[in-house]
């Protein structure tokens, strides 16, 4: 956070004041994001006002009001509800305060830039990895997030679509888990009891990581990949623990969400907006592409690397090894 202090110093010769609303502080991923924000704020010469909407869109609305009252010149939002943010965007637009959105794309309304990785791509990458590993047949469990979460739904849909299209021989059991590790473990255990021949698991977030491993261990299924009893597990997020487990051979892969990049480019684009710069669709200088989602809405689609033990390519998806120094999960120390 920025600490308390003179919130009235909005104008004047000081650094431009920028508001950042964190979406939540109870997941490893967003906590990493929260950790990175002050660092990149300083790098971009911005004074930050922060708030936290605790995964509640009405809190976000109120927080943005407070930020406006404090005279911010730009706002970074990461609403977990992409529809309900529309009135807030509209209000910011009328006040001519540029908005950079992180992780989610608004259903309606304009933003200066959306910085996100493609959640559909996560699901697709997971599908391709499992599809190749299982040679296109068998049973897999997908531990979904919350049905009410757009990111979760995108991953689910992409995973299912890809499985149907490319690997029709694979049966998918989808389980909603409310992003809750205990629920995930319980449902996985039940499915494993009903279908002992399950060979793959797609966890849509790292919350289910250790519970899933415990279930596998309890059933003696936590064995190296060359053992026929092995169950292939792919996770999502790229927190340090996942990388460690991949290196140890306990899980097989993860899709690394770029938490550092989220923070870096969110503040980069905010600074650019305050400086009056504009962007056009096309490739960027940081290995990503800006696309125009609709008029008035640009989106910088950061790459989210697939991490596997061997760093091979799966059905055209390249991957990196867990020790790769470009992964945010390996750079948390600083």
């Amino acid at each position: 956070g920025s600490g308390a202090g003179g919130g009235t110093a909005a104008s004047g010769g000081g650094k431009p004041v920028v508001g950042v609303d964190y979406p939540r502080s109870d997941t490893d991923f967003w906590n990493s994001f929260i950790k990175y924000v002050p660092q990149f704020g300083a790098e971009n010469g911005l004074e930050l006002k922060t708030s936290n909407s605790q995964n509640d869109i009405s809190k976000l609305t109120a927080n943005v009001q407070s930020l406006i009252s404090q005279g911010v010149k730009g706002v970074v939002l990461a609403p977990q509800d992409t529809a309900a943010v529309a009135p807030t965007l509209q209000q910011l637009n009328t006040k001519k305060i540029p908005v950079v959105m992180v992780d989610t794309r608004p259903e309606q309304g304009d933003a200066y830039m959306v910085v996100r990785a493609d959640n559909r791509a996560y699901g697709e990458k997971a599908c391709k990895f499992l599809g190749e590993k299982l040679s296109g047949k068998g049973k897999v469990v997908m531990l979904q997030g919350d049905l009410a979460s757009i990111n979760g739904r995108d991953r689910t849909e992409a995973f299912n679509t890809c499985m149907k299209a490319s690997y029709p021989g694979i049966t998918v059991f989808g389980e909603a888990t409310n992003w809750d590790g205990a629920v995930a473990s319980q449902k996985f255990q039940t499915q494993l009891t009903a279908n002992p021949d399950i060979k793959g698991v797609y966890m849509q977030s790292s919350f289910a990581l250790s519970g899933t491993l415990q279930v596998l261990q309890q059933r003696g299924l936590l064995v190296p990949p060359d053992d026929p009893k092995h169950v292939f597990v792919i996770s999502n997020d790229g927190i340090p623990q996942e990388l460690k487990e991949i290196a140890a051979g306990n899980i097989d892969a993860t899709v690394s969400q770029p938490a550092d990049q989220y923070a870096k480019y969110a503040l980069h684009y905010t600074k650019a907006a305050i400086d009056g710069k504009t962007f056009k669709p096309g490739p960027t200088d940081h290995d990503s592409t800006i696309i125009q989602v609709r008029p008035g809405l640009l989106e910088d689609q950061l790459s989210a690397p697939l991490v596997t033990a061997d760093g091979a390519t799966y059905a055209g998806v390249a991957s990196v090894k867990p020790g790769d120094s470009s992964l945010w999960g390996n750079n948390l120390g600083g």
Partner: protein, 340 residues
């Protein structure tokens, strides 16, 4: 005992002597005022934005929607019942309206009815929930806490079911109006909230119906023996509370221009905290509408101050809870009575 400090030392004539006690009973309504003032002072010190009109309107607007749940819950609590399902009605009622009126193309809507129907549908859905609650609680004599806990889960599940977990947007204009319009430069939802609370104060404090609620909450058998139609009063209280919750949900949907499948999720904790800090008893027959209002106001002021203070996100919750407990102890000191 606070009475002593308030009573003048001189001995008064008998009819005079009742004054201080009554003044005190009234004072109990204002038990939270010191806490509210304290928070305001702290807020102003922490960030001079705090007392600006803009920020105050922000606080009031943010609390306006949930405050209708507090209002509804207070009515139910005074009558000696509880309605946990209000938080789900808050989401489901506008959700049903959106489902039926939003054009099929966008999101999960069916688009069966024109947009003008949305407000009547919202209120009707609320009323229907209230009728089911009342049927189970009043008619069949099931335990209110557990019935409404079950209903909380069912109704939330229904909203998830009809929306497929998605958020309804592109709502019809009539649904947006109340939650987003400005009247005299102030959001309509603030006017509505203040108006409804004023009505609530009159209802509980100065009407037959209100006295009947207190009587039922205090001793239902005595109320019955005194000729109060207890079942009828409970029916209207439960149905009315659900309709108020639906109205609150409507404001919220208008404010956010959408209905999320999680709308209202977890709000019941805040609602109970507000009512109880505000002096409303959980066993019925105790508390006032004004007290409940100060309760929810205090909670939202705390939230606002914490945000303005830029407290690190991970500590906000702990602080929030701590302040609630302190407020409770303060109101105990002011109120002077052991609570329940």
């Amino acid at each position: 005992m606070p009475e002593r400090t308030l009573t003048p030392a001189t001995e008064n004539a008998a009819p005079e002597r009742e004054r201080p006690r009554i003044r005190l009973a009234r004072l109990r309504d204002f038990a939270l005022i010191p806490a509210i003032i304290a928070i305001a002072v702290v807020g102003q010190i922490v960030n001079p934005i705090f007392l600006q009109g803009d920020n105050l309107i922000n606080i009031l607007q943010t609390m306006s929607e949930i405050s209708l749940l507090v209002l509804a819950q207070t009515i139910v609590l005074v009558a000696g019942k509880m309605d946990l399902s209000l938080e789900s009605t808050f989401g489901l009622a506008p959700g049903v309206a959106a489902w039926l009126t939003v054009t099929a193309g966008s999101g999960a809507g069916l688009g069966l009815l024109p947009g003008a129907w949305s407000i009547p549908i919202t209120l009707a859905a609320g009323a229907l929930v209230g009728v089911v609650n009342a049927l189970l609680i009043v008619r069949f004599g099931l335990n209110g806490f557990i019935v409404t806990l079950g209903m909380l889960i069912v109704l939330r599940g229904l909203l998830t079911g009809i929306s497929g977990g998605q958020t309804f947007f592109n709502l019809p204009a009539s649904m947006l109006y109340l939650g987003s319009a400005l009247w005299l430069g102030v959001p309509a939802s603030i006017w509505l909230c203040l108006l409804l609370f004023a009505a609530g104060i009159v209802l509980l404090g100065f009407t037959k119906y209100g006295r009947a609620l207190y009587a039922i909450g205090g001793n239902v058998d005595a109320a019955k023996a005194a000729g109060i139609r207890t079942d009828r009063v409970l029916w209207t209280a439960l149905v009315g509370a659900s309709v108020l919750a639906a109205l609150g949900g409507l404001l919220m949907s208008g404010h956010l221009a959408s209905v999320a499948a999680a709308q209202g999720d977890g709000a019941i904790f805040t609602v109970f905290a507000a009512a109880v800090i505000g002096g409303v008893g959980l066993n019925g027959g105790k508390g006032t509408m004004f007290g409940a209002f100060t309760g929810i106001l205090l909670l939202y002021m705390i939230q606002n101050v914490l945000t303005l203070a830029g407290v690190p996100a991970q500590w906000i919750q702990a602080l929030n809870g701590g302040i609630i407990i302190v407020a409770l102890m303060l109101s105990r000191l002011t109120g002077g009575k052991v609570q329940e």
